[in-house]
């Protein structure tokens, strides 16, 4: 392999009605080849009905160092969850 074949992230929809899910990555010279490779590598047992391939370089990810700043604020906002509210057992359908 010549250095520099781009890396592609592979997402597979296991059946209609479900979202595409990340399953791994493949190297390929272009998108068509990435799809073909992804099909051979990740769907040998009817794992999918649809494949997305995305150039890995096109993904912007959050920095693990920012994890606390990004996600901790949600931790103490339990009032965003329905179970935060006490409703008498006699009240139905809510």
């Amino acid at each position: 392999m010549t250095p520099g074949w781009p890396l592609w992230e592979v997402f597979v929809r296991s059946r209609n009605g479900l979202a595409h899910k990340h399953v791994g990555s493949v190297h390929a010279v272009d998108a068509t080849m990435a799809l073909t490779n992804a099909r051979d590598v990740y769907t040998r047992r009817s794992e999918g009905t649809s494949i997305w391939v995305v150039p890995s370089a096109a993904i912007t990810a959050s920095d693990p160092a920012d994890k606390d700043a990004l996600f901790d604020p949600a931790g103490d906002k339990i009032y965003r969850h329905p179970t935060f509210y006490d409703i008498p057992a006699d009240v139905k359908n809510i």
Partner: protein
């Protein structure tokens, strides 16, 4: 196991009693402590997380060896594809060999998340710099070996890989989940093949027994050196890359496999094999470690042939890779020349 080269000898810089954190500046030492605390809490480590350099190095080496084993593992079985006795057996064998290629690719992908490139990994294999499992340096002499390899070699691999599904490094653990699901088919088709032979003619039964005789000890050795001689175990256990010792996994394998051999009506080639009522486990005879280390060193029956075949496949595929690159380049140029010259907001608007 597939990564047994890790156990074979102390690396130049390995000293288990030495705590690398003691040499680090304070902030890095505390990063190590935080890292270990995450491991202890069964948190998973992901590619962009901070990790000790040694953890990264160990994982790259282990995952690379594992990937190389899958790739080299295609050869002993590929040997029989054209001579499979029926279309059904042939289709199964092709599917199995294709799976081994797939497993190699999942694993190369996992290794690459640690910052090593695919080209480096491939180079390490074809140059012989990084090892693969000793088991693939044994020849597959008869059709019965396709049964014995699936049953014993893939059986031993499953024993090792199931705990790896809980490995502390996320991408490796996820690759292992896929591999284990597929490996189960490998083992069952192998056992079914052995069952068919062992219920067949006297010649077929003899062929099955001969295959068991040749593959039993190499499969036992797949788990690597005894715990007492395994230098990397303590560290990889602390980092939860590995969860059971070589001897523990070997014992589990023996305990489940001996009754399977009995069901086939075959004899395990170990005169010392006994069920120990006190421990509830099978005791086995002495393992020929000289043979094991000779094969790991490169002096097994097929080491040179396996590497030469892999190297030839890589070199003979060069023109295919060059053609793919040329095609992609041409397509791109064609697309660029046929696109209207318009750029900027107007062109961007067309995307929707």
């Amino acid at each position: 196991m597939y990564t047994q080269g890790l156990d074979e000898a102390p690396g130049p810089d390995v000293d288990e009693s030495f705590d690398p954190a003691s040499l680090l500046p304070d902030d890095e030492a505390s990063a190590e402590l935080r890292f270990q605390a995450r491991i202890d809490a069964e948190d998973r480590i992901e590619p962009t997380d901070w990790m000790p350099a040694e953890y990264r190095r160990t994982l790259i080496r282990q995952i690379a060896q594992h990937a190389h084993s899958e790739v080299i593992g295609m050869q002993p079985e590929g040997n029989w594809i054209t001579r499979a006795p029926s279309l059904r057996r042939k289709a199964v064998l092709i599917a199995k060999v294709q799976d081994e290629a797939g497993h190699g690719l999942y694993l190369y992908g996992a290794a690459e998340t640690l910052g090593v490139s695919r080209e480096e990994l491939v180079d390490q294999l074809v140059s012989g710099e990084v090892k693969y499992s000793s088991i693939f340096n044994y020849p597959t002499l008869t059709w019965a070996d396709m049964g014995a390899v699936g049953w014993l070699v893939d059986g031993a691999a499953i024993m090792n890989q199931i705990p790896l599904c809980r490995c502390s490094y996320g991408p490796y653990a996820r690759a292992m989940v896929r591999v284990c699901k597929e490996e189960s088919f490998h083992q069952r088709q192998g056992y079914e093949l052995m069952l068919t032979l062992s219920r067949g003619t006297p010649q077929q039964q003899a062929m099955a027994q001969d295959a068991l005789n040749r593959w039993w000890w190499p499969a036992i050795m797949m788990f690597g050196p005894s715990d007492a001689d395994s230098v990397h175990s303590a560290k990889t256990m602390r980092w939860k890359i590995k969860r059971f010792s070589n001897d523990e996994l070997r014992q589990k394998f023996v305990d489940v496999t001996v009754p399977q051999a009995e069901y086939l009506g075959l004899t395990v080639p170990d005169p010392d094999l006994r069920f120990n009522d006190e421990t509830g486990h099978y005791d086995i005879g002495p393992i020929d470690w000289d043979e094991f280390f000779a094969v790991v060193r490169g002096d097994g029956p097929c080491n040179r042939q396996r590497l030469a075949t892999r190297r030839a496949a890589h070199e003979n595929g060069a023109w295919v890779r060059a053609a793919a690159e040329a095609h992609a380049r041409k397509q791109q140029e064609r697309q660029q020349s046929s696109e209207p010259a318009a750029t900027g907001p107007a062109a961007a608007g067309q995307v929707a």
